[in-house]
Amino acid sequence: MALMVGVTDVASAIEPFATCPSQAFIIQTPASTPVAYGVDLGTGSYATLSSDMGINASINGAGFSFIDNHLYGWDYQHQTLGIIGNDYRITPLDVTKDTASVNAGNFFVGDVAVNENAWYGYRKNHGLFRVDLDINSYPMTRVPGSQSFANINITDFAFHPDNGYIYAVTNGNNGQLLKIDPSSGQYEQLGTVITATSGGFTFGAQFFDPQGNLYLSNNGTGVIYRVHVDSVSPVAEIFSYGPSSSSNDGARCALAEVPVGDKVDFGDAPESYATLMADNGARHTIVDGFALGALVDNEADGYPAPLSDDASDGIDDDDGVSFPTGFEVGEDAVLLVTVTGSGYLNGWIDWNQDGTFDAHDQAITALPVSEGTRTVTVSVPSWATAGGTWARFRLSSVANIVPTGGVSDGEVEDYPLSITETGVTVSYYPSSSTFTTIAYEDLYPDKGDFDMNDVVINLRIATYSKDNRVRRVGFTVQLAAMGAGYHNGFAIQLPGIARSNVQEAAIDWSIQGITQSTSPLEDGQSNAVVVFTSDLWQHVSGGTGCYYFRAEPGCGSNYRPTWEMVVPFNNPITMDQMPRLPFDPFIFATPNSARGLSANQAVGGNPGRQLEIHLKNKPPTDLFSPAFFGAGDDASSVGQSQYFQDSNGMAWAIEVPDTWKHPIENQRLDYVYPEFVGFAADPTGDTNPDWYLTPDNSKIFVD
């Protein structure tokens, strides 16, 4: 398009920007000359784009034209509107001003419209002014009647991406969101979106994204806030930490998405803690030589637990904070913090487990940290709740930050933690980072093909005791594979622990991080039995071209349905009364689901809940039908306390005390793990004691 430029004849030299760039432009005048910065709104990272904009006075009231891809801004040196090309040099335009425009002087509030080719500027007490960018003489006129509304204190405004209105948040202690009609200058107050606790706000740079989010850069602190102007009760939340300046102006193509950025680190706490970009999750631009610990990883978005990438990609970059002591209510806890580089550490621990990091959860505030490892002592408040919770630690060069939003450097690391009462010991089976594996064959009472992958469960058990009495047990259960079409449920019996000794109302359990409200404690049982699901197939599908879940070659998945459960007891149980680990994890036939001929014959119909499959020699529950004893291949002997074994003493379920690499479909256990036979044949357990570590690698399932 042709641009008429009166003062200098360089119209052809003004190259436009790339179409609708996603970064925000901030123009500041730190000394006497203006400087252009490009700001990644997502993290607040910024870079100097130019410190030679061609004049020796401020540029203000800038806006980005979606129509011609230039910046326009008010040139204080020539006291007129100027056009800025991709070399960031301003060229003054020969604007034809009406009398009111002449009297208004310079403008520091302005933006380019989206729906029309015009620049609008505002001057308190003078009104709203319009420069028509379509007409070669650039006529500048006051919007009729706008002077009567020119009583607001703003330092910038921005055009909404599609509704035609201008929005701004006022300066001072209470930021009011205003919606301004560009045809009259009349404004509507949409409410207070932010209140200062000390000092006041000066929102010198304001811009939109396509979703109607207004971004506000506060001059004094550089903090960038975000307000969704279309919400019923709009509020400004901290979005990121950008550059600060006493003179600040911003422009942005309102139709460009706010991208995450190229080198950004996210947290991995559950979604409620604000981990995803969509939730304004904690995020940091990765800067070489500045991290918690040694590792930091580059992510397109957060991976909230239980799908944390630290678990799924096998690389745990959360290596900056470790916990040499436990977290006991009312006691001190010691953290070991390792930092590469130096900066400030902030930390939050969700003491009351409400799923958010609140102000009272801040355990570490703006602690200066430098290269190396140091201890940090935090006090666990007396009101903290015992149980599992999450912590977030953020390293950055900005001292005071909140647990959400973007920062231009450093790293965020999220950790699951366990808070206990004073004096509580926790033992983990097999350890707090690994699982034992229970592998089932599900053709019971008939023998199966012994590929031991009909149902494969990973299980971790935490036992909480004080004064040698167990107060509660915790289970982490993951479904690792299902190489069978039958429908099975999964449950754990606590042999010798009466159902009545469980604090049923206090059982805390979740599926995929979602808290469950129904009781998992099964009725009709004398021992405590907790049911995780009555149909494992409700939680997975085989995937494209796959009959089963993680059993056939090429049917891999990083997804593991995960259950967490804590079962507290009314009367703490002495150690010698506790059942042997791993207690009694078993599968059962899903009620009303089809089963094989022998199973049906034994009980005269679909067995449903009556059919259970346990580890060898674990007695079944009260709901099991004794009709299965001796049916099919079952050779149980109740009198000798021998259960779930065939005539050769082989089991329908085996336990492997490791996160086991299970056989692929149709590959029999002894072919995949040749040392198993020697182990099983020696009742002392001393032959091939770790048989499960040496598979034929061509026959194990790999994702």
Binding site: F323, P430, T434, D449, G485, Y671, V677
Partner: protein
């Protein structure tokens, strides 16, 4: 019929792939028919999967395999051992005990993954006693006692003793 079903499953899994050795022609035919159902239904389900049992004739065909394996009825196949932990320090010492793996002794301080532990708990009057069930493949662990008064932590490596010896970790 039943014996052939089982043998065919074994043969399908055999590394040799020689699935029909020693069978009559009729058995081979049955074997091929049953292979079809194996491919679609290894475990339960599908409605067509019939139970499999073994016969002596088949069991003697291979040695050192599940076919001729006899497990003692009382052997529950669990691959774990018991580790006794016995900590006894001065009763005024306030410390926190962890037994973890992995660790790196080459670093200073010793680098221990406290997110990967078998036991965590405070010393009560300087003591902590516990009996742990441990996976057979765990050969060594790092015990750490961290003191709240800032004094140097105690690091003690535990290594699995020979099979016929009681496994214990003692710090006093």
């Amino acid at each position: 019929m039943k014996s052939i079903t089982t043998r065919s499953r074994d043969a399908a899994a055999s590394p040799t792939g020689s699935i029909a050795v020693g069978y009559t022609r009729a058995q081979r035919l049955l074997l091929l028919l049953t292979l079809g159902s194996i491919l679609t239904a290894c475990g339960g389900g599908g409605g067509s999967s019939q139970p499999a049992t073994q016969t002596d004739a088949v069991a003697t065909a291979l040695s050192s395999s599940l076919d001729d394996l006899v497990v003692a009825p009382t052997f529950n196949l669990q691959a774990t051992f018991t580790l006794t932990v016995d900590i006894e320090l001065d009763q005024n010492t306030r410390g926190y005990f962890s037994l973890c793996d992995p660790y790196d002794q080459s670093k200073s301080p010793v680098s221990v993954n406290f997110e990967s532990c078998l036991l965590r708990g405070p010393l009560v009057a300087g003591q902590l006693k516990e009996s742990l069930q441990v996976a057979n493949h765990v050969r060594e662990l790092m015990a750490v006692i961290w003191f709240y008064d800032g004094s140097d932590p105690i690091y003690q490596r535990w290594q699995q003793a020979s099979a016929d010896t009681a496994q214990e970790l003692r710090i006093n």
